[in-house]
Symmetry: C2
Subunit: 342 residues, 2 copies
């Protein structure tokens, strides 16, 4: 669309109350901020600013949301974007496609994602029907790396280390949460092999259900798929393979995420994913607040790795830093209100 040959970027946005466990997510400073984060990311992608969400998401240490990077690349390349509701908990001003997903409960509860099988099926039908030749799929769900870890374990694919939106990955806490999830669940680790919708229903989140259904359907109908993200998109790939869809795809992620996951290459290969790693160069001296990405906060998310791969394909990766700073300035000015003149 829009004169460019860039594929459509599809962002699956939703929530799991797993994110509210202390220390799990960097996606928002308070419970309310966490609940608004996916909708805010969706608004940034589609409108270039927050609309109904109260603020641009920042981590507790001040790292802005990776959605700003995805938006900046969108402003450079002009790709189409679509948001699919993967269980949003607050109204969003971003247009969303509904496939019946509802907000996910804490995975330490017995049946946290009852809408998962239906959303997986409806997402798959939607993916099959998309007319696009190629799509990039991303996710935004605070707490999603923990649910991804649990889902990989439910599928029997738990040798993969999941990443984190925090500089020090709280792996021990995540493992404890995942263990508690299985303790209350109807399924054992490995028992959901070949039944991806049950893995997601009992220990996952609604974004994984929707994204894996969408990707499965798109691949089945001949659409090329780029998974833009990190370990959550790896979990999506695992779910797709366990749904019996063999067609290869691509995992496009950031250098920051790749540094955090030592066995990413082999994990991607095991799910028939080509791996594309992009370095946006946020460690350069002029990047200002974007250095938080290079410091290991917000390594990936909201399709950032996929957008960077598109920028790389277009030979415009070096324009991403100034474009992201422009978006950041614009949304920050707006938040401070029109009366601020300095």
């Amino acid at each position: 669309m829009s004169g460019s040959d860039s594929p459509r970027v599809v962002l699956v946005a939703g929530t799991t109350r797993t994110a509210e466990i202390d220390g799990i997510s960097a996606a928002g400073a308070s419970r309310e901020a966490l609940l608004h984060t996916p909708g805010a990311d969706a608004e940034l992608l589609t409108h270039g600013d927050v609309v109904r969400a109260p603020a641009v998401p920042v981590s507790p240490t001040g790292c802005p949301t990776p959605a700003l990077v995805t938006r900046a690349v969108r402003e450079l390349l002009g790709f189409d974007a679509a948001v699919v509701d993967g269980g949003l908990a607050r109204p969003t001003g971003a247009p969303t496609v509904s496939v019946g997903a509802r907000p996910g409960r804490d995975i330490r509860e017995a049946d946290p994602v009852q809408t998962a099988p239906g959303a997986f099926t409806a997402g798959r039908e939607f993916g099959r029907a998309l007319p696009d030749d190629r799509i990039v799929v991303g996710e935004t769900v605070p707490g999603g790396t923990t649910t991804a870890m649990a889902v990989l374990r439910a599928l029997g694919e738990d040798e993969i280390r999941t990443s984190s939106s925090l500089p020090e990955n709280p792996l021990d806490l995540k493992r404890e949460v995942v263990s508690e999830a299985f303790a209350t669940s109807e399924i054992e680790p490995g028992q959901a092999a070949h039944t991806p919708e049950l893995a997601v229903r009992f220990v996952g989140d609604p974004v994984l259900a929707v994204a894996s259904g969408l990707v499965a359907g798109a691949l089945e109908s001949g659409t090329d798929v780029v998974l833009g993200g990190g370990t959550q998109m790896l979990a999506v790939a695992a779910l797709v393979r366990h749904a019996g869809v063999p067609r290869p795809a691509t995992l496009a992620t950031t250098s920051y995420l790749a540094s955090d996951v030592p066995n990413l290459d082999s994990a991607a290969a095991s799910f028939d994913l080509d791996l594309t790693v992009s370095d946006p160069g946020f460690e350069a001296p002029e990047v200002g607040p974007l250095s938080a990405f290079a410091d290991g906060v917000g390594k990936e998310g909201a399709g950032m790795g996929g957008a960077l791969a598109l920028a790389g394909e277009a030979g415009r990766l070096d324009e991403v830093t100034p474009a992201t700073l422009d978006v950041l300035d614009r949304v920050t000015d707006r938040e401070q209100g029109p009366e601020r003149s300095d």
Copy 2:
């Protein structure tokens, strides 16, 4: 967005069962087709093809939906599009913003649009929050010219003749339906002056509620608004003025619509609307199936007039015919399936 300076096109898509009255609408050949038409139009605008809708809408006489024209202009100019759910009755593959509208009932029932006041308010908040400098607002709602006539009458603005999607405007039938609507309603003609949300609730449709709220909010927050459409968008303007929002706007429509509404100029002026009339040239010999527009079927709708105005601003109005034929060919081939080789 996307490198172009075109404003965002916002399509409000929804339903009223008023459309099911025999002879009222050309938007679909059967009840089920009517219910799918707004979602199909939204999918054509955002995806370039139908996705979840079963078919590209055509009138009983074979005129394709004006959404194809809006999409064609989008492919030329690369403008951003957003769809707002104005009471869709079937799931759509187009991403939509929800402001709480539900499908409208037949206006001959006593209280056909109970969600109107809430949707008007939520639409107004959404319109206020939009970061855009300028937006184009369009509608797709089969049966909408009849509900627009009733709403104008409820506001005491009923000197305006409303248009039709049929070559012979069934004015007598519409007047009869409108009379029956007032007979069962709590309000009399003129009684809803200054209470637009009640006009829409008692004799309107949910698209009018959402579109007028959205336009009122956008104008209040300093966004320039182009109403892309015909008499339904005039009714939106009337509702906005009756909501106490005085800021001028533009009505951008087609030459086919303008020919059908003799007092359009004065009506637009009475609501502080600049009038832009665009002629896409669909009476030329090479237009094939598009000649149905020039014959008076599907004169306007799905933001067609607004899109044509944008094409005119860009000096590319003469490219609209081939671009629309391209879109029509593409979506027709797809409907006939990949196995068709001739």
